[in-house]
């Protein structure tokens, strides 16, 4: 009985509304936070931070945003890359065109622009459903790709849409070393993680889930479909836009529209599905899995000392990646979050079988 939750002993509203009702969970979460905020920056090598941890944090933020739309509200979107691009380029424009605008404000304003675009492309969801909607959201993806490549004003008149930022700082502190970048991203992920967790357990999150499970029935019991669907699009694309701005500013430094291509959209959708639809933790599991997997696959031949031609290696990597995705979907269609849940249920009874 490592893990227990026996009966209802709550005596106050505060206890009833806790995010983590079990004491072990609270301790574990605090330990995890301490690990992420104190131990990791002290111990992790520069490579680990740059190649794994920073991408992991930013992509899990994006996956979190997408999960709100796909996992909680049931609207499949293939335009996530486009919304990330909107966030990135809008934040860039605010930073370059407005003198003295703080970095955080620019990133949040970028997120707001992504919200506007997201809601705009979310309007068809009021009429179109399911796979039709999924394909229709590709319009957002391709339109954004095109706009940032062709409309010079959006990219501050740079050729082929490639832009870059440098000398970023927050409250006078520069963000240059990998550790500083890591902590900056971590702060965003924590804040938005908390916001998202609270949104999905509140009134608005429940209206999203009702919409996901059966939209006609939800409308009958008095949930306004338009408000529910569009608010999901708004919140989701805000978070995705902020993640896009972080990805561009912090991870890439200088970027072009191809950084937010349709492959990015698919990658994020994979994260959400492999991590677990409709689960905040799932976004993090999925992001970790999909950030680490390609790196492991790329390095596998070197670890075993097998020399492979690079072109062949990249084809083999694609192949194994695809096969693993399929394998994973077959073994656990409900994602890593579901495995985590099963483990918790087993621990609750351990060592007794029933």
């Amino acid at each position: 009985m490592l893990y227990r939750e026996n009966g209802q002993f709550k005596t106050s509203y505060g206890a009833d509304q806790q995010i983590f009702p079990i004491a072990q969970d609270r301790v574990a979460m605090l330990l995890l936070l301490a690990l992420a905020a104190v131990v990791v920056p002290g111990l992790a090598s520069e490579y680990l931070l740059r190649a794994i941890l920073i991408p992991f944090l930013i992509l899990s933020l994006a996956a979190l945003g997408l999960n709100i739309l796909v996992g909680y509200c049931g609207q499949i979107s293939l335009g996530t890359g486009g919304f990330m691009a909107v966030g990135a380029y809008a934040a860039f424009n605010f930073l370059v065109r407005v003198d003295g605008l703080p970095l955080v404000a620019a990133i949040l304003l970028g997120g707001l622009c992504a919200t506007v675009v997201g809601v705009l492309f979310g309007i068809p969801s009021l009429r179109i459903r399911g796979l039709y909607l999924a394909v229709a959201t590709l319009a957002a993806q391709f339109f954004c790709d095109w706009a940032f490549l062709r409309i010079k004003w959006l990219t501050h008149d740079s050729s082929s849409g490639s832009v870059g930022v440098s000398g970023l700082s927050v409250l006078g502190m520069p963000i240059e070393t990998p550790v500083q970048k890591y902590l900056f991203c971590l702060a965003f992920v924590l804040v938005f993680g908390l916001i998202a967790k609270n949104l999905v357990r509140g009134h608005i999150g429940r209206s999203w889930m009702a919409m996901r499970d059966m939209d006609v029935a939800a409308a009958v019991i008095g949930i306004r479909p338009m408000a529910a669907k569009l608010s999901a699009f708004a919140v989701s694309s805000f978070i995705v836009g902020v993640a896009g701005a972080l990805w561009a500013f912090i991870h890439l430094g200088s970027w072009e529209p191809a950084a937010f291509s349709i492959d990015r959209s698919f990658q994020l959708l994979f994260m959400v599905i492999i991590g677990g639809l409709g689960s905040i933790a799932g976004a993090f599991f999925g992001a970790a899995f999909l950030v680490v997997l390609p790196i492991v696959l790329d390095n596998l031949p070197y670890w075993f000392g097998i020399p492979i031609d690079t072109a062949l290696a990249s084809h083999l990597t694609t192949m194994i990646f695809g096969a693993l995705i399929v394998f994973f979907l077959i073994v656990e269609p409900h994602g890593l979050a579901r495995l985590w849940q099963i483990a918790k249920e087993k621990l609750r009874l351990w060592p007794f079988p029933h």
Binding site: V70, I76, P124, R127, I128, R129, G130, L131, Y132, A134, V135, A136, L138, A139, F142, F143, D145, W146, L149, R150, I151, M214, D215, V216, A217, V220, I262, F266, L269, F270, I273, L277, A311, L312, H315, L316, T317, T318, M319, I320, F321, G322, A323, L324, I325, V326, L329, I330, P333
Partner: protein, 309 residues
Amino acid sequence: MGFFLETLIGGLMTGMLYSLVALGFVLIFKASGVFNFAQGAMVLFAALAMARFAEWIPRWTSLSGKLAVNLLAFLVAMALMVAVAWLIQKLVLSRLVNQEGITLLMATLGITYFLDGFGQTLFGSDIYKIDVGLPKDPVFLMEQSFQGGVMVNQEDLAAALIAASLVAALTLFFRFTGTGRALRAVADDHQAAQSIGIPLSRIWVIVWSVAGFVALVAGIIWGSKLGVQFSLSLVALKALPVVILGGLTSVPGAIIGGLIIGVGEKLSEIYIGPSLGGGIEIWFAYVLALIFLLLRPQGLFGEKIIDRV
């Protein structure tokens, strides 16, 4: 006027080719409810197989006649596509029965990655040529009504004819053969079909094989036009708006949708494109499909979606 007609005809020809790819999507969706994202990868895989076998067969055997070599390569590539269909059904789909649509969609995305990697590992990743002897020279029509006439690419014309006859053949197959009837029954209602003794798993292998066949034909036509290379798999992204425009469950929808998208794309690129900075082809098709969908959410010919609580 001559120029307009030329654009229009060019659009119709491209549209015919889009519908060919779209047809693959529709066949599989109708029969198994799987939105097959791997259709583009199948086109690339089939075209790669065709191109490479046509190159290898004269080396392995003493065959040298172009027709014989191409025919043999076609048969071998077809056999390979059937094998792929069988493996997909056996290893992936049969294990994902009753899962949600989005899980199946993701599984086909996994298959896409696998096929892309596998095809290029097996057959190499350079640009290859397919030469099945489609005529290359342009012809001029209606020279007496317009000055200079209307230029039509013979290759496009042949491709459109092949596509049209393929569609006709498939329609006949669905209508008049026992297997075709079984396929339609499965498309209507899985359980009912199974209860009268139609073997579902075999039907699904057949459907995926037919989709593989359509992919092979599309691959050969696109491949002889553009060369066989990785970008061929992106043709599928062009076919997606066609599918949703026509309706996911309708074969005629795929054809009409393809023609609308093909024409719309070409006309918009020429008449609207310059004022927007060009290159609008890629998103225009999607926006066009989106506008149609707002009027008819199930596509032009899709089955009406009825909500029950």
